[in-house]
């Protein structure tokens, strides 16, 4: 009982606090652009008012929208997302517009994609009054998730970029369906586990060595969904699509959610053993995977880095054989080292030295120009976003919403970890996108969808219980 009391959030609207923070977030974005432009080109950004007007206006519109349709929502969520999104736009502007080379992307594109994402965000907040309706069709959701994941495999539709087949070509634009599949899978898992929760958590078979019980193992038939998930992640994503990032992300989220549902650590031990077992098993057979591990562990080896000397003189060196090298990773680290504690200042560094810096390695560009200080701000913002999501899960009353909110929050946290950990050499590089920051429409849109879901759930968790029009004593009022 005491737990229920302590997790409830006070039923207050904090919209003005949100507005103040939002103005700060917009200000930071514009200030970042001005700094980059002044440092690099010695002039004010030529389109500052266009960017300021569009980005600021859209963010403020989102705030007004929340004020009307989700007034009890957590006030931190929108400003945090806006700041991360804005910093991303500012950095892309600095990388492309400020250097005059927009062939590989542009901040204006990102801004337009942000606008589109905000429309979807508003639609979700508006139409999805009760997130629990998503619980109704777990299998349809699961099926659509699987279909989304498989789309890139369709010949003619799928596209391979940077070795991973995770894009589909829609003519005008390309889409990364896995970004949306992961949300669908969280919906499915929340619904499925809420219904199967008791079976999964209670029925078990003890694993004994002699008389000593080592582990409580779940029954085989209860492990089926997990085995399917696991097999799907590993086989389809790793082998057919070379998409290590998404498979790691999905599997990690799956384990987290099953733990939340069952509170049993045996699931985690089982899952992790299966995961690492599969990794070890696949290591010799999946060259893409092997390459990632070698470039991670041995990044500074000349044969892995591919120095000119190796490239010219050696035919059996790793990087020549694999056609892959650790230059991006190492150059990213050099960029961060160059930045040091305070950074070179926006526009003052040379982030262009890192190949494909606009994608995953945008983190190292921030590291170079904003320094450790700037990276800490980004990491704290992402951590805070995930923690606020967890808080929503705690405060919510419905099991499905608890599952869903914690799943989404963990997805944000784990996705940040997978990509930033990859860039900073904590784990092998797998290819994923920093939520809200990285370039790309699919990633941005899925981030804003997650934010919309969190905002809607936080509003519902905080909203005061409806008050009966007449005091009728024990009569319960149910809101639908």
């Amino acid at each position: 009982m005491s737990e229920a009391l302590s997790t409830a959030l006070p039923p207050v609207k904090r919209r003005n606090a949100e507005l103040v923070m939002l103005v700060f977030a917009i200000g930071i974005t514009l200030f970042a652009m001005v700094e980059a432009s002044l440092t690099r080109n010695g002039e004010m950004p030529p389109n500052l008012f266009l960017y300021g007007g569009l980005f600021g206006g859209l963010s403020l519109l989102a705030h007004v929208f929340i004020r009307f349709f989700a007034p009890y929502a957590d006030p931190l969520l929108l400003p945090l997302a806006t700041m991360l999104n804005g910093l991303g736009i500012a950095m892309l502007w600095r990388l492309f517009e400020a250097t005059g080379d927009t062939s590989r992307g542009s901040a204006m594109d990102q801004l337009i994609l942000t606008a589109g994402s905000l429309v979807v965000f508003a639609a979700i907040v508006f139409f999805l009054k009760e997130p629990r309706v998503l619980q109704r069709y777990p299998y349809i959701t699961a099926l659509s998730a699987v279909l989304l994941l498989l789309l890139p495999l369709i010949p003619g539709l799928g596209m391979t970029i940077n070795g991973a087949r995770q894009w589909i070509n829609l003519g005008v634009t390309s889409l990364q369906p896995s970004e949306f599949a992961k949300i669908a899978l969280v919906i499915f898992l929340s619904g499925y586990m809420v219904t199967k929760r008791d079976v999964l958590s209670l029925v078990s078979r003890p694993l004994k060595i002699g008389p000593i019980k080592v582990l409580e193992l779940p029954r085989m038939r209860d492990t089926a969904p997990m085995a399917v998930m696991w097999g799907f992640c590993i086989i389809v994503l790793v082998i057919l699509m070379n998409d290590l990032g998404t498979s790691l992300l999905l599997f990690g989220t799956f384990l987290a959610m099953i733990y939340v549902a069952t509170q049993r650590s045996s699931w985690i031990i089982l899952g992790l053993s299966a995961f690492f077992g599969a990794c070890a098993l696949l290591y010799p057979f999946v060259p893409h995977f092997r390459t990632r591990v070698i470039t991670w562990l041995d990044a500074f080896n000349p044969e892995v880095y591919c120095t000119d000397e190796i490239l010219n003189n050696s035919t059996d060196a790793f990087c020549v054989q694999a056609g892959q090298n650790s230059q991006q990773l190492v150059q990213g680290l050099f960029a961060m080292g160059e930045g040091g504690i305070l950074g070179a200042g926006l526009g003052g560094g040379k982030p262009g030295n890192v190949p494909e810096v606009q994608n995953d390695f945008i983190f190292s560009a921030f590291g170079e120009e904003l320094g450790l200080t700037g990276l800490m701000v980004m990491l704290f913002a992402l951590a805070l976003l995930a923690q606020r999501g967890m808080r929503i899960a705690l405060a919510s009353r419905e099991l499905f919403v608890k599952m869903f909110a914690s799943g989404i929050s963990f997805l944000i946290a784990f996705q940040s970890f997978v990509v930033i950990g990859g860039v900073t050499r904590v784990i092998p590089m797998t290819g994923a996108t920093i939520p809200f920051v990285a370039k790309g429409g699919s990633a941005l849109l899925s981030s804003w969808i997650m934010l919309a879901l969190l905002i809607r759930m936080s509003n519902n968790a905080r909203k005061p219980a409806p008050v009966a029009i007449q005091d009728e004593g024990a009569t319960q009022v149910i809101s639908r």
Binding site: L333, F334, M336, N353, G367, L379, A386, M403, F417, G421
Partner: protein, 482 residues
Amino acid sequence: MNKPIRRLAVFSLALFGVLLLNTTWIQAFQADWLREHEFNRRDVAERTSLPRGPIVVANEQIATSTFVEDGEYYQRDYPEGELYAHPVGVFNPMGNFGIEQTHNSYLDGSDESLMVRNFLDMLTGTDPQGASVVLTLNPAAQQAALDGLRANATNGRGAAVALDPKTGAILAAASIPTYDPNSVADLSDVNTSVENWNKLADDENQPLLNRAFNELYPPGSTFKIVTAATALENGHTIESTIDAPAAIPLGGSSLPNAFGGPCNGGAPDSIAHSIEISCNTSMANWAIELGAEALHEQASAFGFNSGPMNVPLPVTESSAPLEPDDNLRAQMGIGQGQLQATPLQMAMVAAAVANDGTIMQPYLVQEILGPDMSEIESTTPQVFSEAISADTAEQLTQAMILVTEGAEGSGKSGAIPGIQVAGKTGTAEVGDGDTHNWFISFAPADDPQVAVAVVIERGNASGGTLAAPVAKAIMEAVINSE
């Protein structure tokens, strides 16, 4: 299910904790290592994005910066190629070397003394510029040194140093084999530059080594000047005699004269005559007679054993250890044994005799000029040590003149017609049968303008034949350019 959610929240916070710790590690602790990593070419880009001040010798820019439009960088050029490679060094993708390294902060304009100027430049919108570094080198002497070494070094290795004995200014510092700095500084083809550099670094003849300052050789008979100076400073005169047989017994072996016979027909020989003909036995006897302390002290006064020096290029320490064993000290007296000297050190010995016993601190940088040619810094000659008395110096000068002019002089090829040259030959045994061939000298003897040391590595002839002509050419170049 709040408990697992709480745990999950803590776990996801821990994930960020790992990222925070790791970025802190990379950016705060590993940063220096990353910045200096050999794969890191960032500093090259950084270093070449600004113009660099010139290095000047005799009003001529011997290192220049040119802006390359299509690459947006400044290319460092060395119009004289190999001539100044060792003292000037090079500014290339592998780093800065020589004066390019020691005076980097002036050349790239980052030095504190240029800060006000740079700040004003920033305010007025002009590009900051580096300072000019003016060297003491004499182009004719440097050229003569390099040409002479090339002509006389039979196996292509050697070094020569010339000093102005009155100031310590380094007039020439050549070392062969040398290299063309342009071949390793070309930024339009960094790969080839790096490749060439690696080839030079791996070459067993060590073309990157500045032998004039950083290679140690046994000084051979040129060290007899130091032994003789010890005698003169300890109450003897240049006419004092000591036994000078054909050979003297040393422990189990014997120490003979190079020319076989005794130095003075079997009679005791004077110091003056011993220097003229480069007598081994008499000088070995002097070393035994004078004692370990005296010899060690005198050598130290000439600059041995006084630690590494910066001129401002680093100069390796020459050593003449305290040698209590008579047999070994006899070897030291004639410049063998535990003795090790740089060519610059032996030039300082010659300079001491030339400058009435006073050694001036050697220096390579005359002055540093701002972009507007105003003086920022200028070197004032300083005394390095009072090695010997003026009287001793005068007596040694007379003995050294005999080396080039005396009837039995061992270094006659060092003589310049019409100008008195004081010199001393040296043929140092390496131990495997080869010999290094030395000549140290100064001229004109009555009003010295230049003191020289030349060493031909493993020339396997005499100092008089191989090294003296090089010294002569350098001295002539200096005297003629005055």
